[in-house]
């Protein structure tokens, strides 16, 4: 059995910004190795782990994708040894001032992302909401050293170390979406002792935060019968509208909306109720903001669903998740996969 909290904490300390997932992929590969029958890496860098089912060939397959890439920053200028940055993925610039970061230069350099004093900014810029183009990374090094060690295009990651908080919760950056990779790993663990007739493709996808490029191409290559995106969703926290958020620690969400096949939704909901796995229904009226959006329209189209893990303070260095929600999401996936039979695809119909 994988020590999930330890694995998750290791993942939170591994770099893996969108498009540059090699370090995090290596860690997941090492952990999945004993849990799957086959591992390969896609042209776009996604990790595919295959667990073969026991049914007769050709077997249907289910793809479960959890994106492993993280949001971050990239160096786009050097001003006297202070680095200018741009964002990779969606960032609120108000989160950035005075955050610890790691500049992945010729070697990893710790530094601080700072908001310069107001007197050094344009007159129309408000302190406290300074656009990202005026923020600077200070590595504490001399301008000569910075010139030698850092180039435009180098990546910059959040450096907040993970830590445990009350109520069996964990704080760290990149819990979006390493929490879901952990849930998928819980699922793989569970399936070690559970027979399943379908093939399972466990996919740690790339570039979700930017283009959904990883899941789009993996779904095409692997051409599953069904696809599940596991991703984080908004947990209730101060200032958030209650109708768009879900309580932390009260179970994963099962998503409903145009990216979701209604029959697949019903199957997941019924299964969760049957196994008394607590969950909430999440509605996404348009884009689900997950890999499911991409996978649904791959090739001739794939029935998709999203399983959400509630997370507070998404896209900040202090994201918070409840470990219980991760294990529940993993168990829900495992129960669903174990219950898939030869006839399941016959139920994926439109009951108009």
């Amino acid at each position: 059995m994988t020590d999930i909290p330890a694995f998750l904490k290791r993942m939170l300390s591994a770099p893996g910004l969108s498009g540059h997932e090699a370090p995090i992929r290596a860690l997941i590969e090492e952990t999945w190795q004993p849990l799957v029958h086959e591992l390969n890496v896609s042209r776009m860098g996604s990790l595919h782990g295959l667990r073969c089912g026991s049914g007769p060939t050709p077997r249907p397959s289910i793809l479960v994708a959890a994106h492993m890439d993280a949001i971050g920053l990239m160096v786009n200028g050097n001003m006297d040894g202070f680095l200018r940055v741009t964002s990779i993925g969606g960032l609120d610039p108000r989160v950035l001032p005075h955050q610890p970061v790691t500049v992945h230069g010729r070697r990893d350099l710790p530094g601080v992302l700072v908001s310069p004093p107001e007197r050094l900014l344009p007159a129309n810029v408000t302190e406290g909401a300074v656009p990202i183009e005026y923020l600077l990374v200070d590595t504490g090094l001399t301008p000569e050293e910075v010139r030698r060690l850092v180039r435009v295009g180098d990546l910059v990651s959040y450096a907040q170390p993970p830590f445990e908080t009350a109520g069996d919760t964990l704080v760290g950056h990149s819990l979006d979406n390493r929490a879901s990779v952990a849930a998928l790993t819980v699922c793989l663990d569970e399936l070690q002792k559970r027979p399943h007739t379908w093939d399972l493709w466990a996919v740690a996808s790339t570039q979700e935060e930017v283009s959904l490029g990883g899941s789009t191409t993996s779904a095409f290559s692997l051409r599953p019968s069904l696809a599940v995106a596991v991703d984080v969703t908004f947990a209730s926290s101060p200032g958030c509208p209650s109708h768009k958020t879900f309580p932390l620690g009260k179970g994963p969400t099962i998503t409903w909306g145009p990216n979701i096949h209604p029959a697949l939704f019903e199957a997941f909901r019924d299964l969760a109720e049957r196994h008394e796995i607590p969950f909430n229904v999440e509605v996404t009226p348009r884009h689900s903001g997950t890999d499911a959006y991409a996978m649904q329209v791959v090739a001739e189209g794939i029935p998709c669903i999203v399983i959400g893990i509630p997370l507070r303070y998404m896209h900040t260095p202090v994201e918070m998740v409840a470990l219980k929600d991760i294990t529940r999401a993993g168990r829900l996936l495992a129960e669903f996969i174990a219950a898939l039979d030869e006839k399941f695809m016959d139920t994926m119909v439109w009951k108009d």
Binding site: V95, L120, P122, G140, T316
Partner: protein
């Protein structure tokens, strides 16, 4: 020890950096300086003739010199830091808080904090970017909207508990990075000075409280100590970053790597010209780099000390430090070294005649 023609000046080595690390990581919000006080008392015990903790929590240490007509020289450094106090329990692990000292609300967003004597970890979050609109992201976050979140569990944190940033001290090449370098740099320097106290003066070391809450500790400490003159050791902002358009930055206040910053004037005090001169002449004599802090806003314990009793000639000297009152400040090791060397040399060169000069 660096040998000079006349004197030996103490150096910052691994032991001193280790001590600064311990001091920087300790949590001591103005009014609750116990953690730093404990470290200070452990450190100075063997090096002082008398140590006292006064009614406000100041640590006052007395090192008696030898010889005739000794000057009573106060050297002050404040133990407290800016931080937070829990003001209400919103339930479910969320707490309202207020700031203690000057901390801008925008610096708190997305940060880890430590609460209370047990250092319970928590975070200050913000609504996810996905649920904001462009207009909202242009408005600075207000303190009222922020909460400390310790996770969904009740009862571990109490109203009235203090909290600090959770940043751990680290070295960045030639630089030092940590929370509360303002003024743990001064505290660490003062500990070294006490360990190397010159014999011809009475050294009155004041590790003060509540500097960030209105210079309150220094006020009573200087009354009690009755010094002839005072040196105040602090950290001063270094705004030595590039301007957004690359034009000359003429308002840097102080600059990293240029040596300790000597004060001439700030909002709190016009520093005694005799002492300012004394520091500059000392630095020139010993070849110690220094800079004049650009006159302007800001203040140090000297603001309270110089007006105490019938007046106490005072001067401040600071280690230039970037991003004061934020989760992570950055200073240069070389500036700290030169700060210690300059103050030690200035103490060694002190004579009662200095105060006979015209101001």
């Amino acid at each position: 020890m660096k040998k000079t023609n006349e004197f030996s000046l103490p150096r910052i080595g691994a032991t001193q950096i280790k001590l600064l690390e311990k001091l920087s990581n300790a949590c001591a919000v103005a009014g609750d300086e116990g953690e730093v006080r404990k470290i200070v008392l452990e450190q100075i015990g063997p090096h002082a003739d008398e140590v006292k903790v006064d009614a406000l929590g100041n640590v006052l240490a007395y090192h008696r010199g030898t010889g005739e007509k000794r000057l009573r020289v106060m050297v002050a450094a404040h133990m407290d830091e800016v931080g937070f106090m829990i003001t209400a329990d919103d339930g479910d692990g969320f707490y309202r808080f207020d700031v203690v000292g000057g901390v801008d609300a925008y610096k708190l967003v997305g940060k880890a904090v430590l609460i209370g004597k047990e250092h319970i970890p928590g975070v200050i979050g913000i609504k996810p970017v996905h649920l904001t609109n462009a207009e909202e992201r242009k408005r600075p976050v207000e303190l009222e909207a922020l909460r400390i979140d310790i996770g969904p569990a009740a009862g571990k944190v109490k109203v009235g508990d203090r909290a600090t940033f959770a940043t751990r001290f680290t070295q960045l090449g030639p630089s030092l990075c940590g929370k509360a370098l303002d003024d743990r740099l001064g505290v660490a320097t003062l500990i070294e000075l006490l360990k190397n106290a010159p014999p011809h003066i009475d050294l009155l070391a004041a590790f003060t409280v509540q500097e960030e809450n209105g210079l309150r500790g220094a006020r009573v400490a200087s009354f009690a100590l009755m010094p002839d003159l005072a040196f105040v050791l602090d950290a001063t902002p270094a705004h030595d970053l590039p301007t957004w358009d690359g034009s000359e930055n003429a308002r840097y206040n102080s600059r990293l790597g240029m040596g300790p910053a000597i004060y001439v004037a700030d909002t709190s005090a016009l520093h005694d010209p005799r002492l300012v001169r004394h520091l500059m002449v000392t630095a020139d004599t010993f070849g110690i780099p220094y800079q004049i802090r650009q006159p302007g806003g800001g203040g140090t314990d000297a603001g309270a000390i110089h007006k105490q009793r019938a007046g106490i000639p005072s001067v401040s000297i600071s280690v230039p430090t970037r991003y004061l009152h934020s989760p992570a400040s950055i200073a240069r090791l070389a500036d700290w070294q030169n700060d210690l060397a300059l103050v030690q040399a200035a103490l060694l060169r002190l004579t009662p005649d200095l105060l006979k000069e015209t101001r």
